[in-house]
């Protein structure tokens, strides 16, 4: 993989004012090297732009990671989630969006796991309407809330646009999400639309920036966009340096291969 400009061995250096073009970002982050077939992203905007920029296209279509399969969502739920998180964290000149970063897979895996089932939360009753200062008091598990949230999203779009969410224009999708966030006549069962939006937003940020081992932050591209070096064992030599020290990021996988 072509590293960041700074090269190997995490050699520290002063930061330069970052104004990387997306093309540079993509080159630097090695995005074309595979593992990125997320939904339809491979035929999407990123590749188109790369080709326009005469970047070398992969000789053959890389194979998807065998881990890119679903534990919780059905296909429709997955696609809806993928489209929604892309609006929350869109692909832009800074680099990939939530879709290409694998955030929908991240969310799928989280909902299927202990967090999605509230395994370590207090779930005994009675369940009583809370004041705003007392926190969530739902009898539902997070993954049940998420399912009902998507159901609400689906019927809202059906009612208002006679379309499914994934077929809407980006701007319409933003309108839908804005209404959902505001809780503006956005009926849902078992969860308010604004708390569903909050969960969706929070999961998106986690999926963008958590270690890639959870299925998001593909190729550490979430970290690269913000120059976060991930899992480093020591900054003892760098921490007294002025400015931003840039380093080639490492994920936790580095520990397995060391």
């Amino acid at each position: 993989m072509p590293g960041l400009k700074l090269g190997k061995n995490s050699k520290p250096a002063r930061s330069e004012q970052p104004d990387e073009s997306r093309r540079n970002f993509l080159k630097a982050s090695g995005m074309t090297l595979g593992g990125l077939i997320v939904g339809s992203v491979f035929g999407g905007v990123l590749t188109d732009n790369l080709e326009k920029n005469n970047s070398p296209a992969p000789a053959s279509k890389p194979e998807a990671s065998l881990q890119d399969a679903l534990m919780f969502f059905n296909q429709e739920q997955f696609k809806m989630t993928e489209a929604a998180v892309e609006r929350i964290y869109p692909e832009d000149e800074n680099g990939p969006g939530a879709k290409a970063l694998g955030v929908a897979f991240f969310i799928d895996h989280q909902l299927a796991g202990p967090w999605g089932y509230n395994a370590r939360d207090y779930m005994m009753g009675p369940f009583v309407q809370a004041q705003a200062t007392q926190g969530e008091q739902s009898r539902l598990k997070r993954n049940e809330m998420f399912t009902l949230g998507l159901e609400g999203l689906k019927s809202y779009c059906q009612q208002k646009y006679k379309k499914v969410f994934t077929e809407l224009e980006a701007q319409q999708q933003d309108e839908v999400l804005t209404a959902m966030e505001k809780g503006d006549k956005f009926p849902m069962r078992g969860v308010t639309s604004s708390s569903f939006f909050k969960m969706l937003r929070s999961l998106t940020i986690e999926g963008v920036y958590a270690d890639p081992l959870y299925g998001g932050n593909r190729n550490m591209n979430g970290w690269k966009m913000r120059k976060f070096p991930g899992n480093q064992m020591s900054y003892a030599q760098q921490i007294t340096k002025e400015g931003l020290v840039q380093m080639k990021p490492k994920s936790l996988q580095a520990h397995m291969s060391e």
């Binding site: 930061s15 207090y122 940020i205």
Partner: protein
């Protein structure tokens, strides 16, 4: 078994006394932190914290509300497993001020009784700074605290220098130092339990220096550089052969005859068996909330009655007031804010305690004003100026721009006790064993709002001096809300003092109502200061260890 249990076990076993340590969680060692640099697992999914499905607390702002359970983590985090909260702390190791221990007398002396507002239950600790100083010193030597030993006019005197030099003074810290000195304040390096250099403590335990990896609070330290009971006092105790640690052993009740304890009952959570463990002395060293809960569930000591003011168990619950802050955005500079250590920072105390005149102010005490470089991790730190959309293209762009361009001058304010802030048993909600949960009744008061506003303005002056493109000052304090994380500096409930009418334990942490029971921890704080609590918890643990040895020799009340 955290700091309290570990320290007391180390001191007693070194003196030849047999100790059984009952830990409800699992055992833990530095090897368990192989995959430690995982923000999602540790900081967001709370790997090191207590399993709330088994036990939590309930909360209400006031008596007019119905208390409801804290179903998932937010405002504070409860440790679990060997090391307890001493495994997931940051390592900031401040002493309290001489003023703290005599807060009532000194307030009355300087400002008159009328200065204390109606309902504020201010009281002295039954121990002075000079009396507790040797125990602070002991803890700091054992933990290897790194700090600046030069006399600081804002702080109490030290009998010995810190055992290790201060942490590295990074460019960010230097900038804070210059700005605050220019304004006439007295900044110093925060005393740190993240070792500045390799260190061998008086018990012969050697540990390695901090690597500034940026994963401290909510994480364990894979190097053992952060002082944690698991790498300090517990091995010291184990080496004597006199400590038996029983993990997966959840104490549910203290057995007693109304005057003395005879032992405890615990559930072996592996087999489900209920086990009775007899004891000559029982030490409660769990997190402060559970110390109070165990006493209430065991019907040991007189519960605090908020209406009559009588009784002591549950009295003076306090917290921390830390909403005031100033955030500086730098359009033309970037910093390595992802590097850091839990206790890497600088602070000044010119507006802490009674270091400044309160005559014309509508609050007592104050806050430390500080900059920290703890390591900003990407899920939890996405700063953007006010008015930025909270999602979408603009949000992404802005948070990426400012990812390494924001510094914060924060305040950590004292939380003073009120008659109507207390702990008792919840009438409705139970744990998995059917025992009532602890109920917290707490809110912020006008005192806290005034303090926040005043201190945030001071923080703002420093921040502006540090040359950012623009500054946002957060000086509003909303009602206490259990959802956003604020601080794990919960205090009180089983407080110390000189008077059995208004305190549960004496200055040796010995229960007034049961002479062979010692209740140790931040549960003993009659109020909370503008500092992190662990140094004081450590000092009180050494004090209690001395008291227990005295008690085993002579019996009776030690005070």
């Amino acid at each position: 078994m955290g700091w309290v249990g570990g320290i007391i076990a180390a001191e007693l076993t070194k003196a030849g006394i047999q100790v059984v340590g009952l830990e409800r969680g699992k055992s833990r060692s530095t090897e368990d932190y192989f995959m430690d640099h995982d923000e999602l697992r540790y900081a967001r999914r709370f790997e090191l914290m207590q399993d709330l499905s088994k036990e939590t607390i309930t909360f209400r702002n006031s008596e007019s509300m119905r208390a409801l359970p804290m179903r998932s983590y937010g405002s504070f985090l409860l440790g679990d497993g060997l090391g307890g909260a001493g495994s997931h702390w940051n390592g900031q190791t401040h002493r309290f001020l001489p003023y703290d221990f005599e807060i009532y007398n000194q307030t009355v002396e300087r400002y008159g009784k009328g200065k204390i507002p109606e309902g504020m239950q201010l009281q002295d600790w039954g121990i002075t700074y000079d009396e507790i100083e040797p125990y602070y010193d002991k803890f700091e030597q054992v933990a290897g605290i790194s700090g600046e030993s030069e006399a600081n006019p804002m702080l109490g005197k030290r009998s010995h220098p810190f055992p290790t030099p201060p942490m590295k003074k990074t460019p960010i810290l230097q900038r804070f130092e210059e700005a605050s000195k220019k304004l006439g304040y007295h900044p110093y390096m925060i005393p740190s339990a993240n070792l500045s250099e390799n260190y061998k403590n008086p018990d012969g335990i050697s540990r390695a220096a901090c690597q500034y990896c940026g994963f401290c609070e909510r994480f364990g330290c894979e190097y053992g550089a952060k002082a944690d009971p698991v790498v300090t006092v517990i091995p010291t105790a184990m080496a004597t052969g006199k400590l038996e640690v029983r993990t997966f052993s959840n104490v549910t009740e203290i057995l007693h005859d109304g005057k003395k304890a005879t032992g405890v009952v615990y559930i072996n959570t592996v087999t489900g068996e209920e086990v009775t463990q007899p004891a000559d002395v029982v030490v409660l060293g769990s997190f402060m909330l559970n110390n109070a809960r165990l006493l209430l569930n065991s019907k040991l000591g007189t519960p605090y009655n908020r209406k009559t003011g009588r009784g002591t168990i549950g009295r003076n619950y306090a917290y921390q007031v830390n909403s005031g802050r100033a955030v500086g955005f730098y359009d033309d500079e970037e910093f390595s804010t992802f590097m850091g250590a839990g206790a890497l920072g600088m602070e000044f105390d010119d507006f802490n305690g009674d270091n400044f005149d309160h005559s014309d102010l509508k609050f007592l005490h104050g806050a430390g004003i500080r900059i920290s470089q703890n390591g900003l991790r990407p899920i939890e730190n996405n700063p953007a100026p006010q008015g930025t959309p909270t999602w979408g293209k603009k949000w992404k762009e802005t948070t990426l721009k400012y990812a390494n361009r924001v510094l914060t001058v924060a305040t950590q304010g004292a939380s003073l006790p009120w008659k109507h802030h207390y702990l008792d048993l919840d009438p409705t909600y139970k744990d998995i064993y059917g025992k009532p949960l602890l109920r917290i009744t707490f809110d912020f008061e006008d005192q806290d709002r005034e303090l926040t506003k005043y201190l945030a303005d001071k923080a703002g002056e420093v921040m502006k001096e540090m040359g950012p493109s623009h500054v946002e000052i957060k000086d509003k304090l909303d009602p206490y809300n259990i959802v956003p994380y604020q601080s794990t500096h919960n205090t009180g409930g089983v407080i110390m003092g000189a008077d059995p009418e208004t305190s549960a334990v004496n200055s040796y942490l010995q229960m007034w109502e049961a002479e062979n029971v010692f209740v140790v921890g931040a549960s003993a704080f009659p109020h909370n200061s503008g500092y992190n609590p662990t140094d004081t918890v450590g000092a009180l643990s050494y004090r209690a260890a001395e008291g227990i040895q005295k008690y085993l020799k002579q019996g009776g009340m030690l005070v």
